[in-house]
């Protein structure tokens, strides 16, 4: 029985690799919708999809005839809650470094800004204005 470009998981609306047991539950739900004329699929589509999942390869990832998106889900998987994967790495610099004079001018400017911020944060003496 050819797939005719269809994906049984997509037809039944279940995640890729879902077990036959779970697919049967989905079939029970979806067939009710089809009886009422709801949705794009017919009963024949659902009976086909359930048969494919129940009697297909025990590891559907081995079946080259079944498409899925993304094709390699592991590439975007987040392997653990603690650490990102792949590990964080610095990107290569894309601009030329500054000259010594420019760096010195930036330091001076930064020092003045810090002093201003510190003075502004000091409490004012009582009884004096202006």
């Amino acid at each position: 029985m050819t797939t005719q470009g269809r994906n049984p998981y997509l037809v039944l609306g279940v995640p890729f690799g879902t077990s036959g047991q779970e697919a049967t539950k989905a079939f029970a739900r979806q067939s009710r919708r089809a009886r009422r004329g709801i949705g794009p699929y017919s009963l024949e589509d659902f009976t086909w999809a359930l048969h494919e999942i129940e009697h297909g390869d025990s590891d559907p990832a081995h079946d080259a005839g079944l498409y899925r998106v993304p094709a390699v889900p592991e590439a975007t998987a987040w392997p653990s809650p603690e650490a990102p994967f792949p590990p964080v790495r610095p990107l290569p610099r894309r601009t030329e470094p500054h000259s010594e004079e420019e760096v010195e001018a930036l330091r001076r400017e930064a020092a003045q800004q810090l002093l201003k911020s510190a003075l502004a944060a000091l409490p004012r003496p009582p009884g004096r204005a202006g």
Binding site: M1, A28, S31, R32, E44, T47, W48, E54, H55
Partner: protein, 565 residues
């Protein structure tokens, strides 16, 4: 307007109706006193008979008829037979079955219920032809058939009405004529067949024949018994089998007086070989699902043969669990059919059912090595309705047409039946076989109707369309009207009209054909029945010159079975 469920069984039939309080079998016949206490209270034997004055008889009247002709196991004839001879008259199988459906309908009407719409059950292992003929006969009895439903599915629905939770159940449906093993999943009120395997000609009739053989071997003078005496003996054996389900021993009345004492161990020994054949379909269905006995939540036993203690014990040992309680093996199928009828007519909401095909559908095609093989298009255990497509390429560039053989069968056991051959015209303007490739789509519905559609791959143009399922002896519309009207009159008037039967010219030939088709073929294994059937068909076709030889051939072939007639 109420709906009913009909279990049209090989040996017994039951009708049930759905009411707000549940599904219940209806009294449609009254067993004689000596059968009344054996659990047959609501059962109509599926037997048609002609009394001494030519009157039509049904059920117990026909089964216990002392003088006259009777036909049992008409359902077994649905697989391959065209006609049957009764009291020198030839009837189409459809005529007898239509009268039986008509009689059941009349009895329901007498009980005060209406009987216009029905769900009719069929064995899960029924091939398309038997499905089609069953539905046609019920329709010709003026019943609107809402659906055909597999017997095990109906039984599971009756069971689940009492145990309404999600579960996986195995139903062993073993009646008078057939054995079916089916695994179903009940999910939120939806019953889904998952795997099914059966044996078409193995049931209570065969157990009876085995026991009869055992007793006949120990009884002098059996060869001198008349046809009536043999019939009475078979009835006594059947009754003894039923009694032994509740007792340790019983007496089998012999037709010329006296009795044969039969105890349960002796009975068990004589039928053990047949009983153990249930192992194969049980293991096959589990294997189909990659399941173990522990994966099955409940084992439901239905059908009269499942009342035999040896059968119950053997299945319990195989499955490692006792059969589920709460279902009546004799009426569960009809009760489930009535529930199905209530679902389809909207009386019960949020329930549904899906049956599966026990056999595969496909065609014969050359494989890459050049060998002709079965090519599956719709595989076994596919839920219905099913639609599937396969692509094929002609074997030769110059092919102008191909003959597509539409085949049903079991690829694992290489058991095939060619249903029809469809001619597919190809585009002769194209030079290569590859360019002439075509897609074959099969659509198979619940009623056993198979639609075949062949499309040209390059253009998408339909090359041919065909509807398969009209049987071995297609009935014209006028034939159907004749059967429907004749059967209705026969049921109402208690007499066969001339239009319903066609006489056979030579009474000796008629008697011999009747002996082969009625007394022997229904009770023996298919591999032994097939040559007998061929000889009977050859005799029927034989002209005046070859008839004497054909008679002799059939007589000789029947000799080993003289204990049956």
């Amino acid at each position: 307007m109420s709906t009913i469920g009909i279990d049209f069984g090989t040996t017994n039939s039951v009708v049930a109706a759905y009411t707000p309080s549940g599904s219940e079998a209806i009294d449609i016949d009254s067993p004689p006193a000596d059968w009344a206490d054996l659990g047959f209270g609501r059962v109509l034997p599926t037997v048609f008979g002609l009394g001494p004055q030519g009157e039509t008889l049904f059920g117990w009247e026909a089964k216990t008829l002392a003088h006259g002709e009777r036909l049992q196991a008409v359902k077994r004839l649905f697989q391959q037979e065209v006609s049957v001879t009764l009291d020198g008259q030839e009837f189409l199988v459809e005529t007898i079955a239509t009268m039986l459906f008509g009689h059941m309908k009349a009895k329901v009407l007498e009980s005060g219920l209406s009987a216009d719409r029905a769900v009719v059950t069929i064995p899960a292992n029924s091939r398309g032809l038997a499905r089609y003929r069953t539905k046609l006969c019920a329709q010709m009895a003026k019943l609107q058939v809402l659906a055909l439903i597999n017997e095990p599915t109906a039984a599971a629905m009756a069971y689940s009405a009492r145990m309404p939770f999600d579960q996986r159940v195995m139903v062993v449906d073993w009646g008078g004529g057939t054995l079916d093993v089916t695994i179903l999943e009940a999910q939120a009120g939806v019953f889904i067949e998952q795997a099914s395997k059966g044996i078409q000609r193995l049931g209570g009739l065969d157990l009876d024949a085995r026991v009869a053989q055992h007793i006949a071997a120990a009884t002098p003078g059996v060869n001198e018994w008349s046809a009536l005496e043999r019939h009475l003996f078979r009835l006594a054996v059947e009754k003894a089998k039923v009694r032994l389900s509740e007792r340790d021993f019983t007496n089998v009345d012999l037709p010329r007086g006296g009795f044969h004492r039969l105890d349960r161990p002796t009975f068990d020994d004589s039928v053990r070989g047949l009983v153990e054949r249930v192992r194969q379909p049980i293991e096959q269905t589990l294997q189909d699902l990659g399941a173990a006995p522990a994966d099955i939540d409940a084992v439901i036993l239905v059908g009269g043969t499942c009342k035999v203690p040896l059968v119950r014990e053997f299945i319990a040992d195989l499955m490692g669990k006792e059969p589920a309680a709460g279902v009546d093996p004799m009426t569960a199928v009809a009760e489930g059919a009535a529930i199905a009828a209530a679902i389809l007519s909207g009386e019960i909401e949020d329930n549904d059912f899906f049956v599966a095909t026990e056999h595969a559908l496909g065609t014969f095609a050359l494989d890459r090595t050049g060998e002709m093989r079965f090519s599956t298009i719709i595989p076994r255990n596919h839920k219905l309705p099913a639609r599937a497509t396969e692509s094929y390429t002609p074997a030769m560039d110059e092919a102008a047409s191909i003959s597509l053989r539409v085949v049903e069968g079991d690829p694992e056991h290489e058991d095939y039946t060619v249903l029809q051959t469809v001619d597919v015209p190809l585009d002769t303007g194209r030079l290569s076989a590859q360019d002439k490739s075509f897609d074959v789509t099969y659509e198979y519905d619940l009623d056993g109707i198979l639609n075949v559609n062949v499309e040209d791959r390059l253009s998408g143009r339909t090359l041919t369309q065909s509807k398969v399922g009209f049987g071995i002896a297609p009935l014209s519309p006028s034939d159907r009207v004749r059967i429907a009207e004749g059967s209705e009159a026969a049921v109402a008037e208690g007499r066969i009209s001339p239009a319903a039967a066609a006489p056979v010219a030579d009474p000796k030939v008629a008697e011999l054909l009747q002996r082969a088709r009625k007394d022997v073929i229904p009770y023996i294994d298919e591999d032994k029945a097939r040559p007998l059937r061929e000889l009977a068909d050859a005799l029927e076709r034989a002209g005046d010159a070859e008839r004497p030889d054909a008679v002799l051939d059939l007589e000789l072939a029947l000799l080993p079975y003289s204990y049956l007639f």
